[in-house]
């Protein structure tokens, strides 16, 4: 049947993300997918990818950039497809993880009802959003994940609204595990994938995924940018257990957000005075610190991985 992309039994074909994929230089997905592969340590997931750069990554038939079984879902449907795949896997006692790999458009916008429903049903799925804060695949339009002030092809003078807090929304579903992952912090990233893998039920992982094409940044600065986003407090790295116990993994170190903004031309309209972003950081951290104080994670939360990581 013509819709199947054949794979040849060669060594490089066994990688989750194969050489020859179509990702741009400096794309956060390239790091994220390789670290996902490494964290799973040889275990092969089934991928479900909606319309997004992630399916373009595969390239065109009959080749595929993915070395694992992969379904290309319609834009809003990856958690629905994954639910069906998961149900058949469960009744056949198959253990390979089922992973949705979706962009912010498919997660924050068009797919949010489907995502919410699958989370509410606590489907046995790992949902990973690589959030590049735009519709990258269509040339860089605003999404509800686009931060305030960022210029996109549909917000020519900078977006007037704030970024949606998808983590709070997912925590509100009381799912077993939700976490943010930095492509500049490998140990933390791998630990969280392993912890998600060891957890049952719906798991939500959010990656801030640099997009040099859309962010108008230099490809070789992608990981530095994410490191700056973490240190400035713009991208907080934390975990939420059962939607109600918080653990902050990294604290900001007073790196000015200007260091982040000035390296991306998408922020050109606010670069001189990123006050909106500073307010956003303040409010975000007051909320997070408050939650982590009032509802702290216990030492059992993620304990399996604490020992696991030490043993390595």
């Amino acid at each position: 049947m013509t819709i199947i992309a054949e794979s040849k039994p060669k060594e490089y074909c066994d990688y989750l993300l194969r050489p020859g994929n179509t990702n741009c230089a400096g794309c956060g997905m390239s790091i994220g997918l390789q670290w996902l592969d490494q964290a799973l340590a040889g275990e092969k997931p089934t991928l479900v990818i909606p319309a997004c750069c992630g399916i373009v990554t595969a390239g065109a038939f009959p080749t595929s950039g993915y070395g694992v079984p992969t379904a290309a879902a319609t834009f809003a449907s990856s958690p629905a497809l994954a639910s069906g795949i998961s149900a058949i896997a469960a009744i056949n006692k198959e253990k390979n993880p089922i992973i949705c790999w979706a962009g912010d458009g498919g997660t924050y916008d068009i797919g949010i009802a489907t995502l919410s429903a699958a989370a509410e049903r606590n489907e046995d799925i790992i949902y990973i959003c690589y959030d590049n804060e735009i519709y990258g695949n269509t040339g860089g339009q605003r999404s509800s994940a686009t931060p305030e002030g960022a210029v996109t092809s549909t917000t020519k003078s900078g977006k007037g609204e704030r970024k949606k807090d998808i983590m709070a929304i997912m925590a509100g579903h009381r799912i077993p595990y939700a976490a943010t992952l930095s492509v500049a912090h490998r140990d933390d990233f791998l630990r969280k994938i392993k912890l998600a893998r060891a957890t049952k039920g719906f798991r939500f992982l959010l990656i801030l995924s640099p997009c040099p094409t859309g962010w108008k940044s230099e490809p070789d600065e992608s990981t530095d940018l994410i490191s700056t986003a973490v240190r400035s407090g713009l991208f907080p790295v934390y975990e939420v257990f059962d939607g109600k116990r918080y653990r902050i993994n990294m604290k900001p170190d007073e790196t000015p957000v200007e260091d982040y903004v000035k390296k991306q031309k998408r922020y050109r309209s606010v670069a001189a005075d990123p006050k909106g972003l500073k307010d956003y950081i303040d409010q975000q951290w007051r909320y997070l610190i408050g939650m982590a104080k009032a509802f702290p994670a216990t030492k059992d939360d993620g304990a399996f991985l604490a020992t696991d990581v030490k043993a390595e």
């Binding site: 992969t70 629905a80 009802a113 049903r121």
Partner: protein, 390 residues
Amino acid sequence: MARELVTGNHAAGNALALAGEANRNARGCCAGAYPITPQTEIIEYLRAFEFSKGSVIAVESEHSAMGVCIGASLAGGRSFTASSSNGLAYMVENVYAAGYYRLPIVMIAVNRTLGPPWNIWVDQGDSLMLRDAPWLQFYCDSHQDLVDTILLSFRVAEDPRVMLPALVAMDGFVTSHTQMVVNLPEQEKVDAFLPKCNVPHRLRHDHPTTVGGLTWPRETEHHRIEIQQAMDRVPEVLTEAIAEFQEVFGRKPAGTLVAEQTEDADTVIVACNTMARTLKNVIAERRAKGERIGMIRAKMFRPFPRSDFAAAIGSAKRVGVLDRNHSPGSGGIFWQEIATTLRGRSDVLLQDYLVGLGGGDVTPTVINEIIDDLVKRKESSEPVWKEVAA
């Protein structure tokens, strides 16, 4: 064989469940379920059924109901669902996807008027909206026809020569909510009739593939050609399936269409679903008065059985089509299809009647008035609105 007095929805739910259960020795079954009047009882039936190897997921929308079916089928399970009206409209993107993925999903469409304005009564406009989707379509006139056609649909859809989804339609309320005596099949017979569901391109770890990714025009053309070729093989596969159905169940369901008294007919009337049952009585009465008139109950709509229609119409001089649907700016959809069948036939007068839209009651009187109009005609006109609800 259990003869039971059941509703159309109960009969459909029962047939889907038995088909799902029949796959317990393979990869099981999984359905996505979402309610909408008048099909809701079907998904309630499925949710209550205790599958030995299957699950029915109650999702948040029809779009996701079909999404779950796609996932389940891509994982190699047998899959099915039901919907109606705006539910089908909301589902459309994934309906097309299911067909383009070549997944043998079976869906019941309980025909209901598309809104707004809101109307829950029967009209075929909802399932016919899907006429250009890569799906088989069958229209049923009775509860028994429904049960038998659902089982046949799984058999044909999952046949490796076809490997396409199938839609089975019934009239909202007129069929879904009324009771008829039905031979409900035993599980063992369904087990004997339906082979294990095998989706050859399912997702698997021993042979990882990317299903549904990007293609160039050349591959896309071939993909579409293969779908047409699969459609072309349906009549042959259906004929075989009916023969085996008869062996297992001892009765013979209708195939692509049912022609009655057309052999010597000057006038032939075409209708589907329960309108065809009323029509049958009208034809019998007019025959008794010496009129050379016959009828065709349209059952299979996709693939459209042009040669069967041409053969059944034969040398008739006039063909009237009762369309309980409306394609704005054109006319009735069955009429359009039959027009392609009769292209080049200047000896046949083909007339369309738009009747019973929004659930208006198509009584014998209404049908007689239509036939009186047709037999007097010297030439055809644009589709005629035959209003019945006034």
